[in-house]
């Protein structure tokens, strides 16, 4: 059974208050997501695609403005409530910025121990022992629990961030661009660590990234987002082998490749990304799509099943091959 389920979940920022007509931004516009225990779902998209907002909606850190998110069969309680706070122990988040996500004024041991103190009431030697075990689990020297964040490198800080997220033994982990601020040599280490932890702990993982290749080896399935909508979804291997949406193709072709033989002809997207306050009618990608035609502007294309679990929101997916 799926642990996390989102049905037509939506989030609109602003637009309320005195002038409801003025530019609310639909950061996430009706997205369906299911993640089972032990499964890793990749969310790929560029800035402004709503991928980080989606992550926070699934965690319940933001309240959805439409649709529904359930965790382990129950709807998420409103943020800040007692039930919501209790639920935090079962979910964790890892941030992108290894520098901004750790409190510079507290030792890493204290920060990792926060969750233990809040949810398990642990203190003293019991907490210290648990912190040491967590540090070991993420590949850090347990004797460094008393050190401050600035004494660590970026990759090590990211390990601290992962240890903090794992402290309360969560079932669901959201990793929001956890490697994009790191050097490539360190990226692979952190990806490996996340993969191992997911397998060992049976975590449901939502992995958010702007970089398609990074998702490939860690995730089972992926969804590609553009302007708050899902463009394409499916098993990682299928999407990489045969991307069906024009946006997925542009994204893949833009990723620099080492091997000249594997390099695809670069598809340059014309123009600028449309304003999220005033998205195009119909298919939101059509203003930059070279296959767009008149009918694309009529209605938002539904996600159609193409078989093998691959789904695509493009009315011309079959014609353009």
């Amino acid at each position: 059974m799926s642990l996390v389920v989102a049905e037509r979940v939506e989030k609109t920022f602003g637009g309320g208050g005195l002038f409801p007509r003025m530019g609310g931004v639909r950061a996430v516009a009706g997205v369906d997501v299911t993640i089972a225990r032990g499964e890793a779902l990749g969310v790929v998209g560029e800035s402004g695609s709503g991928k980080s907002t989606l992550g926070r909606l699934l965690l319940g850190l933001l309240a959805a403005s439409g649709g529904r998110v359930t965790f382990d069969g129950a709807s998420l309680p409103p943020p800040g409530s007692r039930a919501w706070r209790r639920l935090r122990a079962r979910m964790g988040i890892v941030f992108q910025d290894p520098f901004g996500s750790l409190d510079p004024r507290r030792s890493i041991g204290a920060q990792i121990g926060d969750g233990l103190a809040i949810h398990l009431g642990l203190s003293g030697p019991g907490r210290a022992a648990r912190v040491a075990a967590l540090l070991e689990q993420v590949g850090l020297d347990p004797r460094r629990a008393g050190a401050f964040p600035h004494e660590f490198s970026g990759g090590q800080r990211q390990r601290v961030g992962i240890a903090r997220a794992l402290a309360t033994g969560p079932e669901f982990l959201v990793a929001d661009e956890p490697v994009s601020a790191l050097d490539v040599s360190i990226q692979a280490q952190i990806l490996k660590l996340l993969g191992t932890l997911r397998r060992d702990l049976g975590l449901a993982l939502l992995f958010i990234s702007h970089d398609l290749p990074v998702v490939r080896h860690l995730c089972d399935r992926l969804i590609v987002m553009y302007l708050g909508r899902v463009m394409e979804a499916g098993p990682v291997d299928a999407v990489f082998a045969a991307p069906r949406h024009p946006y997925t193709r542009a994204l893949l072709s833009a990723t620099p490749m080492l091997d000249p033989a594997r390099r695809r002809a670069r598809i340059l997207l014309p123009g600028e990304p449309p304003s999220p306050t005033n998205p195009p009618s119909g298919c939101v990608f059509r203003t930059r799509c070279r296959h767009a035609m008149h009918a694309c502007g009529d209605a938002p294309p539904p996600l159609r099943d193409l078989g093998g679990g691959q789904r695509v929101a493009c009315i011309r997916a079959d014609e353009i091959g």
Binding site: R86, Q96, L102, P104, R105, G155, L191, P256
Partner: protein, 605 residues
């Protein structure tokens, strides 16, 4: 911690002195002795007597008690209440925000002296009233500072992280937010204590504060004013005490703020006089656009001299792209900074970088300034912070033109700016030229930066991570643009990047740096097809590309103050032998390129 010692001891001494006044062998501060009025010196009264013949030293110390009592008490009250209100307002927003911020605004609307007069008139003068007035006066400052700090802190990831853990608001505000906003609050405390001492003196001087004959510094100044011509020193002592106390308080709060910050241990590098550079050798005869020979950068740090760039040599020909790659801490960005003549004062470059028959590293700053933005142009990583937010982008491009060709006039410069914007692929350049930076997307801003760099048809472009902050689809179009400009103008390009994928796609030559040194250098197709150095191999293997699972490199880049003795990559290298750990390898010629590895011949391909 050493910084805390002096001001801390000073403040402690003053406070101790003030509150130990009853125990000290001092004359009675209110006992009058009109026979000796205004005596400059008497046995037992080293500072003399005042206009009623009271002992000045005794009054000074007793006066400190009432002055400091008022100052500390009012600042403490204002701080505790103000910070609490500010925290609640900034965290919960809504009603709490409205009530505390608006009431603070109302309080701020009253002129402080007027407010003080009003309260004193209502409640009557006295120490208690004074404390009440002053706390009321300082309350808005604390509310506003705390509020503003909380607003910016609540968006920090580490605050979000603790919230995501389900911490209660009290725990979150107390353990995470408060320590992080403590710095500005401490500054505010020192400011209010200092100004409370002054205000107390002022109000007492006006007869609204401490009631005579209780001594206070303000009353002493007030009394001394009348006899200024006869006994000017009477005015001097309380003023001196006032100044010293305030100065020490400020120093203490500054030191406290630094001491509470665990990051303070990583101190700023100490500056030292920059040594003049020796002029380089004779310029080499070959026609390379840029010829770098043995470039090293040294930085003076508190721990001694470090060399984050060592003996880097390369050349860039016209129309060619040279990429410098490496992890953070490899020295690649400092290499570029040195070439642009933008090193911080604590750093010193040696070696030579020939451009147009001139050694860039020895060029005086005024000549370099003419070169930068002219024949050599620079594009930085972050277009958001490199554009001036209050000027239209067209004007900024025109400004770049006028800085080097003032003769062409503002009108032509603007027309040329629009043409440049069109050239870097900005649609509707006329209209975009009138836009402000915040109205443009990240990719568009980077195009504007490139347009500015191209303003004076540079022959060399140095780009430091020009696409790192951009989305991949935008990166693709920027790289495309750079390649086109290079082909059209024959411009040479030095590209600093950490992305080997970008290097593979756009560069002709590549320099791989590790721990300040070049470890491999050659044509991109050779190096990437058959990397010789284990580090280059490891870097390539770390990239998720194709079906292969990426492999990380264990460990991290060593710091410049602790390079390993032999090969600097040896501690992280899977092929390292004992010899690698002892003997530093030299950069040697190998298969049409250069490589710094003792074992490159033996290693399997």
């Amino acid at each position: 911690m050493r910084r805390l010692l002096l001001p801390g001891a000073g403040v402690a001494l003053i406070v101790l002195l003030a509150f130990a006044a009853p125990l000290l062998p001092l004359a009675d501060p209110v006992a009058q002795d009109t026979v000796n009025r205004l005596a400059p010196w008497l046995p037992g009264s080293p500072l003399g007597r005042d206009e009623f013949g009271r002992d000045v030293l005794s009054r000074l110390i007793w006066g400190a008690q009432s002055s400091l009592q008022v100052a500390f008490a009012s600042s403490a009250i204002a701080c505790v209440i103000g910070v609490t209100l500010g925290l609640l307002a900034g965290w919960f927003r809504g009603v709490a925000e409205f009530l505390s911020i608006r009431s603070a605004d109302v309080l701020l609307c009253f002129p402080p002296i007027l407010l003080a007069l009003l309260v004193v008139t209502l409640l009557g003068p006295g120490t208690g009233t004074l404390i009440f007035v002053l706390s009321l006066l300082y309350l808005p400052n604390f509310i506003r500072v705390a509020y503003a700090e909380v607003l910016s802190a609540r968006n920090q990831d580490y605050v979000e992280a603790v919230r995501a853990l389900g911490a209660s608001p009290a725990r979150l505000l107390g353990l995470t937010v408060l320590p992080n906003i403590a710095g500005p609050l401490l500054v505010q405390v020192s400011l209010s204590i200092a100004s409370a001492v002054i205000l107390e003196s002022g109000l007492s001087f006006l007869g609204l504060g401490v009631v005579p004959p209780t001594p206070s510094w303000g009353l002493m100044i007030r009394g001394a004013r009348a006899t200024m011509d006869v006994a000017p020193t009477l005015l001097l002592w309380p003023c001196l005490a006032l100044t010293l106390t305030i100065l020490l308080m400020n120093l203490l709060c500054d030191a406290l703020r630094d001491a509470l910050d665990p990051r303070a241990a990583a101190m700023q590098p100490r500056l030292r006089p920059i040594d003049r550079l020796l002029p380089g050798l004779v310029p080499p005869p070959q026609p390379a656009l840029l010829e770098v020979r043995g470039l090293s950068v040294e930085i003076a740090t508190p721990g001694g001299m470090v060399r984050p760039v060592e003996q880097v040599s390369f050349s860039v020909r016209a129309g060619e792209t040279l990429a410098i790659v490496g992890e953070s801490g490899s020295g690649k960005s400092l290499t570029a900074t040195a070439l642009m003549g933008l090193l911080p004062p604590a750093a010193r470059a040696s070696g030579a970088a020939w451009f147009d028959g001139r050694n860039l590293l020895a060029l005086p700053e005024d000549q370099f300034r003419r070169l930068r933005g002219g024949a050599i142009a620079v594009v930085f990583q972050d277009p958001m912070s490199s554009l001036n937010p209050v000027h239209r982008v067209g004007d900024q491009v025109a400004e770049a033109i006028l800085a080097h060709r003032p003769a062409i006039g503002a009108g032509r410069a603007r027309a040329e700016a629009v043409a440049l914007l069109a050239r870097v692929g900005i649609a509707d350049p006329e209209r975009r030229a009138r836009a402000y930076p915040h109205q443009l997307s990240g990719g568009m801003k980077q195009r504007v930066m490139i347009a500015m760099a191209l303003a004076n048809t540079p022959r060399l472009l140095i780009a430091d991570e020009p696409t790192t902050a951009l989305d991949v689809t935008v990166q693709a179009s920027i790289l495309d643009l750079l390649a086109r400009l290079r082909a059209e103008d024959g411009m040479g390009l030095v590209l600093i990047t950490h992305s080997l994928g970008v290097v593979a796609e756009v560069a002709d030559e590549v320099v791989v740096m590790y721990a300040a040194q070049v470890v491999e250098q050659g044509r991109v197709e050779d190096v990437f097809a058959r990397p010789l150095h284990p580090y280059t191999r490891a870097l390539l293997a770390a990239i998720p590309d194709g079906d292969r699972e990426p492999d990380g490199i264990p460990g991290v880049v060593p710091r410049p103050d602790s390079w390993p003795p032999g090969c600097r990559f040896a501690p992280r290298c899977g092929h390292a032998t004992e010899r690698c750990g002892a003997e530093p390898p030299a950069l040697e010629a190998a298969l049409g390129r250069r490589v710094r590895c003792l074992r490159w011949r033996e290693l399997p391909a």
